[in-house]
């Protein structure tokens, strides 16, 4: 039965736009798939390979700006930003990796956090290229209806899902996990840790970049504060995977569902204001204490709590 879950989910997702949901609900679904994609990308680098990144906004933003600048400076359709961002973000990720992958553990995390901020400040100040804080706005989005966007991000998410499934079960996946568990032991097992960490970072960055390029096309407006945001991109990405389940195949999806819904719910309570950050903080503390492996990783624990499933002695 479990074998068919991906196909059932895919079938449901394929027919979903035909069920006549409002544009708002479709918007939520699009965001959900986009965040699940970014979550899967983060999960590869930080969940499987153990290099915890606080700077995925850098890749998201570079991807978004690749599409945006193509449009604003070259006058080309920003959709070309999707394939191009793979290349551009790949190059940037490689360069960032040369610097940050020399560091381990919390130092790596801090260096990635800094790199995200470096790109935000650069994007604000390089006005000749990025229009600074004014941002980039599309005169007209390609489609008015949500469905085409939905199917595009669905294709991206499904491709990423399959890629992850394949990667994790392959030699690369085993090497990534070996590096996460003990870098020195991995090195003595003949694993070129620098090379494989770079691969994890570049692949993770590329996928996040494609999601960023999609965001530009879909939302039609970006500025440095939105796409290079520390709390609204980098931290949310981490939360999605932490809540859903680190180093699990379905974790980013489950996490994206919960986080996107929660974000929308919190946003609808107008009087809350910036307090919604505090709610996310509390949620994160709760997850770390009670469900350190996330909802997918600790599913058995949750079932036991509600008195379902076999209780194992």
């Amino acid at each position: 039965m479990k074998k068919y879950y991906p196909f059932i989910t895919l079938a449901l997702l394929l027919v979903l736009p035909m069920l006549g949901f409002s544009t708002y609900v479709m918007h939520i679904f699009i965001l959900l798939l986009m965040w699940a994609t970014i979550g899967m990308a983060w999960n590869l680098l930080s969940g499987y390979c153990g290099q915890v990144s606080f700077g995925h906004a850098a890749f998201f933003g570079i991807g978004a700006y690749t599409a945006g600048i193509l449009y604003s400076k070259a006058g080309v359709s920003p959709w070309f930003g999707l394939p191009l961002s793979v290349f551009v973000v790949g190059v940037f990720a490689f360069i960032i990796g040369l610097i940050v992958l020399r560091l381990r553990g919390p130092f790596f995390a801090l260096a990635t956090l800094a790199s995200g901020e470096v790109f935000r400040v650069s994007a604000e100040n390089m006005e000749w290229l990025t229009s600074g804080t004014l941002g980039i706005m599309l005169q007209k989005r390609l489609w008015v209806s949500k469905e085409p966007y939905y199917y595009i991000i669905l294709a991206i998410a499904v491709t990423t899902f399959i890629l992850m499934k394949y990667l994790v079960a392959s030699k690369l996946g085993y090497f990534f996990v070996a590096i996460r568990e003990d870098q020195d032991a991995a090195e003595s097992m003949g694993i070129n840790t620098t090379l494989y960490k770079t691969i994890a970072l570049v692949v993770s960055g590329m996928i996040t970049g494609v999601a960023g390029a999609f965001y530009m096309n879909y939302m039609g407006y970006i500025d440095p504060h939105i796409v290079f945001a520390l709390h609204d991109v980098s931290i949310i990405t981490i939360m999605i995977v932490m809540v859903g389940g680190v180093a699990t195949q379905w974790g980013p999806f489950v996490g994206a569902v919960i986080m996107v819904m929660l974000q929308e719910a919190v946003r609808s309570i107008g009087s809350l204001g910036a307090l919604h950050q505090a709610i996310f903080g509390l949620l994160l503390i709760f997850i770390i204490i009670f469900l350190p492996n996330g909802i997918v990783g600790d599913f058995r624990k949750i079932k036991r709590f509600f008195g379902l499933g076999r209780v194992r002695a």
């Binding site: 568990e181 032991a185 097992m189 003949g190």
Partner: protein, 237 residues
């Protein structure tokens, strides 16, 4: 024929010479024991040979090729594997996956890697425990898992760092048998050990280190009767 040549190798930490001017050869298909009092520089020597530290001076030659200053993963690819004194299993992976991860080094496909892992686990008598998470293993088996993981990289030379420390007598016999079998399968073994009885019975030759210097080299019998060695261990008479 020597598989490994250590030539005048020194390692300084600041002003401290942890290893100074040590030379010896490891012959093909022998078990070479390295002994010495605590702090003699045995593990440092391993770390230099294995590539974790760069030698400050001297040369290390594996199979006719200089490996001094190369990275551990390159040295592992060249045919030298090691275990750690303080065991370092990949904790959240099963025993099988631990070995599988290192079997990928030589395997061309996953099926081949699984074959190697299965074979190595049977060889080290861990096959029954293959599905257990490695952090749940008792120490004796964890030490054996270290050996299994090293063997899965198909080494020509295996460096064992205190693989017997802390084992009970039954586990000890098991490990001695495994190491004898490793030698029989054509792999050269270099072993650091504190357990005198074990090292005297298992080694073909022994190198003695103290204060970072080699003071003796020879068969177990020669070492047992060497005046300098006795002094190093028991103090001067």
């Amino acid at each position: 024929m020597s598989i490994l040549q250590v030539k005048e190798v020194s390692k300084f930490f600041g002003g401290l010479a942890a290893v100074s001017g040590v030379s010896f050869d490891v012959n093909e298909n022998e078990i070479l024991g390295i002994i010495g009092p605590n702090g003699a520089g045995k593990t440092t020597l391993f770390n230099v040979i294995n590539g974790f530290y760069k030698p400050s001076k001297g040369e290390i030659i594996l199979n006719g090729k200089s490996i001094g200053g190369k990275k551990p993963h390159e040295i592992c690819k060249a045919g030298m594997a090691r275990t750690f004194q303080i065991v370092r299993p990949l904790r959240r992976l099963s025993v099988f996956d631990n070995v599988l991860a290192s079997a990928f080094l030589r395997a061309k496909s996953k099926a081949e890697a699984e074959e190697i892992a299965t074979e190595v686990l049977k060889f080290t008598d861990l096959y029954e425990d293959r599905d257990i998470l490695s952090k749940g293993l008792p120490l004796g088996k964890r030490k054996r898992l270290e050996i299994a993981r090293a063997l899965a990289t198909r080494p020509k030379l295996l460096l064992l760092d205190e693989s017997f420390a802390g084992l009970n007598p039954a586990e000890l016999d098991k490990s001695i048998e495994i190491i004898r079998n490793i030698k029989k399968s054509g792999i050269t073994v270099m072993i650091i050990e504190h357990h005198m009885k074990v090292i005297m019975s298992i080694s073909d030759r022994i190198v003695v280190l103290t204060y970072g210097q080699k003071i003796a080299e020879g068969t177990p019998d020669e070492i047992r009767h060497n005046q300098q060695v006795i002094e190093a261990y028991l103090g001067e008479a």
